[in-house]
């Protein structure tokens, strides 16, 4: 055994050195590869974050544009607005009251607000009111209209869309 060791001493020494060198080089390479791999992961995450923030920013901007067409959730403002429309149309508001219990099921943010009105006036005045409502940029529409034999007494429901949240 000793003779073999002696005979192949150089061989063993060289192979051993190569092995140790190889091991150290692989370790060195792996160490830096791990670091670079971490950087790659960070870069990927940062890019994803960048894209998401850009996308969120874009949606926020779009929301800001759209939310101006919706009413605030405050019903008094809506009542004032509708009252103002009726007066402009030459109608006499007999009664105006919010209709409770109205809700749509799937909506996340949009909520309907309905006002029930009893008005006195002629057909032309009614048309005026309808024109005013149709021209309004806000999301308001007449959801129900009833003109009976007594033409001067009109009942109608005006629906306005409000937002549950005004900021996202």
């Amino acid at each position: 055994m000793e003779n073999i060791l002696k005979k192949y001493k150089n061989f063993f020494l060289t192979v051993g050195t190569l092995f140790v060198l190889g091991f150290l080089l692989v370790r060195l390479y792996s160490f830096y590869e791990a670091r670079i791999s971490n950087y790659d992961r960070d870069i990927k995450e940062l890019r994803q974050k960048l894209e998401l923030l850009k996308s969120i920013s874009s949606y926020q901007s779009r929301f800001s544009q759209l939310k101006g067409n919706f009413l605030s959730s405050d019903s008094y403002t809506f009542i004032d607005l509708v009252n103002d429309y009726a007066q402009k149309a030459g109608l006499e508001v007999v009664s105006i009251e919010p209709k409770s219990g109205v809700s749509y099921q799937k909506e996340e943010i949009v909520s309907p607000l309905i006002l029930r009105l009893t008005l006195k006036g002629g057909f032309d005045n009614l048309l005026n009111l309808l024109r005013i409502v149709d021209k309004e940029k806000l999301k308001i529409t007449v959801s129900s209209l009833n003109i009976g034999e007594n033409i001067s007494l009109i009942t109608l429901e005006i629906l306005g869309l409000t937002l549950k949240e005004e900021e996202l």
Partner: protein
């Protein structure tokens, strides 16, 4: 000019020559038989004492005051070998040669004094070695005799190769010849050497065969030479010797020229008497002594000194130790070489990876800068990717929902106007009910009214006309709304027969 003393010993006697510079001052040859002639009985004496006696006599006859001598022996006493080794440096050669040469001789290296000359053949990556050795016991015995007579031996060389070197120096063997043979002989002994590519290839000593009359048998010498030359040609195939130089007494040389014609090689004879121009030497031994005396002028590759101090101290153990240390040295060199390669590769990896890492760091910083300038970075920058994804999904849904309500129909007034605009003859409305569905797009209208024209057919025609006009209106077509007549009947109203109708628009 400096004087030097050359002494040559062979089996017949001792030759002395004193040279001043290159020139021969005096020479003398004393045969061992000379001692017998003096009538003294030396037969019982040792060879050392015989040599001592001849040395004293020779130095006296030469009338020299020199106490240092350049010594040479005949080939009979020497061991001359030529071998080839793979290419290696001087240090490695000094270590490898002693062990390698043992394969070529029947002695251990410790038993001999030795020296060598080398010829490096780069194109073949090998070293040719001309090795000269002499048994220590023999040389020490002879050196003792020299010491006893007060002569210090400066060097010990081969008498024959000294002679060849001298002949080359004289131009008797022109330098242009590279493959040649030299044969020198006396009546008792001869020596032959073959040179290949200007370096010794082979050398041997031979006893001169005699005829029954006691004269050298030239024919047998010729046969012997022929065999030697055949041996060479067998060893070195396809290579021809250019010339055979023959040196000896003129009478013998002349005979040789006649007998050696069938050797198949060009001959060039040099009678001993003609070698030196100014003076003559008595025999070949004196010429060898002279060639030893002018050692400094001879070609280096034929100059040996087996007395070199280093030769005496090289023992097997020392060689082994040196070889072992060389092995360690080799290992160290190999390891160092491997380490250097490793460092280079490691350095390469380090720089490549550092460079990669730097570019990644720059990229990270660039993206971070881009992030910081986003308006919502402060609000959402610290959130995790999952939270941000949820947020994005929620916003997407919200925007989709808002867009769903972006086109709520604003057509109530248009529809009512349409009804009023298309009212036909004798018609008036009783009631109008309008209802929007939950999706805010679909509309349902129920209209009740009367027609009075005093003629039922005309009233019906008026109603049909009204319905047709509604159906053909662009507004209803665009909205894809359908007009249906729900009911129509004759009814008495305030004493008049009128047509009452109900129309649905959906």
């Amino acid at each position: 000019m400096k004087k030097r003393l050359g002494i040559y010993l062979d089996s017949q006697g001792i030759a002395f020559a004193e040279a001043e510079g290159k020139d021969l001052s005096s020479s003398v040859f004393l045969s061992f038989s000379y001692l017998l002639e003096e009538g003294k009985d030396f037969s019982e004496l040792s060879s050392t004492l015989k040599i001592e006696a001849l040395l004293q006599r020779g130095l006296r006859e030469l009338r020299t005051e020199l106490k240092e001598a350049y010594l040479g022996f005949s080939e009979k006493e020497s061991i001359f070998r030529v071998l080839e080794l793979p290419y290696m440096n001087k240090k490695e050669l000094n270590l490898a040669l002693p062990l390698e040469i043992e394969k070529y001789m029947p002695f251990r290296i410790e038993e001999i004094f030795w020296d060598y000359q080398e010829r490096r053949v780069f194109r073949e990556k090998k070293i040719k070695i001309a090795f000269l050795g002499m048994k220590k016991t023999f040389l020490e015995e002879n050196l003792k005799a020299f010491s006893n007579v007060g002569v210090k031996v400066k060097s010990v060389d081969s008498g024959f190769f000294s002679l060849i070197g001298f002949l080359i120096l004289l131009g008797k063997i022109p330098k242009r010849y590279k493959d040649f043979a030299v044969f020198s002989f006396t009546r008792e002994e001869g020596e032959i050497a073959i040179f290949s590519e200007g370096f010794p290839y082979f050398s041997r000593y031979t006893k001169i065969p005699l005829t029954l009359e006691g004269e050298p048998d030239v024919k047998k010498i010729g046969k012997d030479l022929k065999m030697t030359l055949r041996y060479y040609q067998g060893e070195v195939k396809g290579k021809e010797l250019e010339k055979l130089f023959i040196l000896g007494e003129s009478s013998l040389v002349n005979k040789c020229e006649e007998e050696f014609q069938d050797l198949g090689i060009s001959l060039e004879s040099s009678p001993l008497e003609d070698v030196l121009k100014d003076r003559k030497v008595a025999n070949l031994s004196e010429l060898k002594a002279y060639s030893l005396a002018i050692r400094d002028y001879r070609a280096e590759f034929l100059k040996f000194n087996i007395l070199k101090e280093r030769r005496e101290v090289v023992l097997r153990e020392e060689v082994s130790e040196v070889l072992a240390s060389r092995e360690v040295l080799w290992n160290f060199k190999s390891l160092f070489f491997l380490l250097i390669i490793g460092v280079f590769i490691g350095g390469g990896i380090f720089f490549i990876q550092i460079s990669k890492e730097s570019s990644k760091v720059v990229e990270v910083k660039k993206i971070e800068e881009e992030l910081k300038v986003l308006p919502n970075f402060k609000e959402f920058g610290s959130l995790s990717l999952t939270t941000l994804k949820d947020k994005e999904s929620y916003l997407k849904k919200i925007i989709a929902e808002l867009r769903e309500y972006s086109d709520i129909p604003k057509d109530n007034s248009s529809l009512i106007e349409l009804l009023g605009r298309n009212i036909t003859e004798g018609m008036w409305f009783k009631s109008l009910n309008l209802k929007r569905e939950r999706n805010l797009r679909d509309l349902y209208l129920v209209l009740q009214g009367y027609i009075y024209l005093g003629d039922i057919q005309r009233e019906r025609n008026s109603l049909n006309k009204f319905i047709t006009k509604l159906k053909e209106s662009e507004f209803l077509k665009r909205r894809k709304m359908k007009v249906t007549l729900n009911s129509v009947r004759q009814q008495e109203l305030e004493g008049y027969k009128v047509t009452a109708f109900t129309i649905g628009i959906r």
